[in-house]
Amino acid sequence: MIQIKRINDKYLVFKVEDIRFLRQEHLIGGTLIGTLPQIPQQNVFCGLPLQLFKEEVIFLMKNGIAEVVDDSASHVTALTSQTPEDIENYEKQRHTAQQLQIKEYTEGMLERRRQALEKKGMSGKIDKEVVVATDNAISYVTDATTTNETLEGYNMFSKENVLSDLLEHVTSAQYYIFNFLHSRGYFLSPGLRFGGNFLAYPGDSVRYHSHYIAIGKEYEEKFPIKSVIVGGGRLGTNVKKCLVLGGENDEGGDSVYCIEWSGFG
């Protein structure tokens, strides 16, 4: 079971393995909201954490795939229970790791420099050159520093703050249409940008264009023809997607309809 971290009313995932698992085993994609350290100056590709939307969390909890943890509380509890020895240990570990990184880096630089000079046939100059070149270049690398697991006993504290039954009984038109599409193998993402509750992809959203703009409605919920059917249908056509409107009918069955501009009139 994976842990979803809740901060206020938002649901986040911080581990790459969890993201891979949710995506490839359960067609749950979420949205990456963080900055990618490798290319921080753009918004097309984002980094950790991953934010899940409400319906994804409900699905994962209903099916026993994930539990929700109050992360702010866990973090503070874990932190305040660190002993001075824990902290000393931690600092030692960090120092050792850094020394190792610096050593590796320096050796790597030396080696590359040496090879470069050899290639140029200047092996005689090697010693002098290398010393100068590495002097200013000492760097060190820290871990991805993404999760809290470095904190002593963190996992224990987070387990105590599991909020598993929070969303057990939530049902709504939105969850209905999410589930309708997801259970048919569609991959979903938030849809406000296109005027719907969700966008639905026929497979992983990294490879396929979305097919549907999906809107959930209660069976007898009224909606204006002009903005929902004409506007939504028209938008769908402009962006090459179908508008899907649907809900659960009186008999508990599916009443789902696709709307598409006819191209005439």
Partner: protein, 342 residues
């Protein structure tokens, strides 16, 4: 058509002809002339009549042509805007029609056909790509993509297309519109929106059957309880010089044209927002702005402070009621950070 020609063709923004008289103060004779003009006032402006049948306001004959040409009011019920069913049908049925005159609908038809050609070509290319991938799977081909096989937009011959498109056989339904002498009976009328009818009546004296202001307001409000609110918005934009038409095609309430459909595309889409009604959610707004942004128009939310209207709204009261309406516009537009950096 050149803009100059269009201006000559449609010189009047309203079904009213403005008299150009010399300034009176500088020229005593003109006082006499001016008084004459005044006494016969109204004679230079057309007086049109419309009918109210089956819940819609219809104009035929002179009114049909005049109301369209002077301010682009109404819509031909069988056409996209200006009544042109007559030309199209004559051409289709092989009856006499002037050469080289195409209805706007026919031009659209050309474009659509052209696009379809292109799409068919692209579909073919996609099928080939699938086959290529299957070949790669089977080891029959290597995986390097040849990028030069994108389909090209084919050349298109309008006349050939028209000839082909009208090859359709005459239908039994067409007998409904051809008289015993083989002449086409023009069944198309100009339909006025209810707001247009009231505007033309109260401002320019259009007769709508024997309805007066009270009868119109009562009847139109019966069909749509928010009629007066929409009317106030319509009147507001007309009074500022805009040509105001229905926005249904984009899910909006009105479209604003600078002069009218023959001149330019509409610039603005108006959504009427009665101030005291609950605001819609952001999904609704996002959808509307996407549709409208997609056709390069600007979304305007026109907030309306609707006064409490008590008693009957008749001739005298309509002006008073309109003066109590207040409107304020807010433009909504998608903002894309990467396009606003400099």
């Amino acid at each position: 058509m050149k803009k100059q020609n269009l201006n000559a063709l449609y010189p009047h923004p309203y079904p009213y002809v403005v008299d150009v008289v010399p300034p009176v103060i500088h020229n005593p004779i003109s006082v006499l002339y001016f008084l004459c003009r005044w006494i016969f006032a109204g004679n230079t402006s057309p007086e049109y009549t419309a009918e109210y049948v089956d819940g819609v306001v219809r104009a035929v004959g002179d009114a049909r042509e005049g109301l369209w040409k002077m301010g682009f009011f109404g819509k031909g019920i069988l056409s996209r805007s200006e009544p042109s069913w007559d030309i199209r049908t004559k051409r289709r049925l092989g009856l006499h029609v002037e050469e080289g005159v195409y209805a706007p609908e026919e031009v659209t038809q050309f474009r659509r056909e052209q696009r379809q050609h292109f799409k068919a070509e692209r579909a073919k290319a996609e099928e080939e790509e699938l086959k290529r991938r299957q070949d790669i799977d089977r080891g029959l081909a290597v995986a390097d993509k040849n990028e030069d096989d994108k389909p090209v937009r084919p050349e298109f011959d309008r006349d050939a297309f028209l000839a082909k498109s009208y090859e359709m056989e005459k239908r039994t339904e067409d007998d409904e519109v051809v008289d015993s002498l083989g002449n086409l009976v023009d069944i198309e009328f100009l339909q006025l929106m209810d707001v247009e009818a009231l505007f033309l009546h109260m401002a320019f004296g259009l007769k709508v059957g024997d309805m007066d202001v009270k009868a119109m307001v009562d009847e139109f409000t019966r069909k749509d309880p928010r009629f007066l609110t929409y009317y106030a918005v319509y009147h507001h934009y007309r009074s500022l010089g805009w040509c105001v038409r229905s926005g249904i095609k984009f899910g909006a309430d009105f479209l604003l044209y600078k002069k009218g459909p023959p001149f330019t595309h509409a610039e603005f889409c108006i959504k009427v927002m009665p101030k005291d009604e609950p605001m819609p959610d952001f999904w609704w707004q996002s959808n509307l702005c996407r549709v409208i942004g997609g056709v390069k128009k600007t979304t305007v939310f026109c907030f309306v402070d609707v006064p409490k209207v008590e008693g009957v709204v008749d001739d005298a009261k309509l002006v008073e009621v309109l003066k109590q309406f207040k409107v304020r516009e807010v433009v909504y537009r998608r903002w894309i950070p990467s396009r606003n950096r400099d």
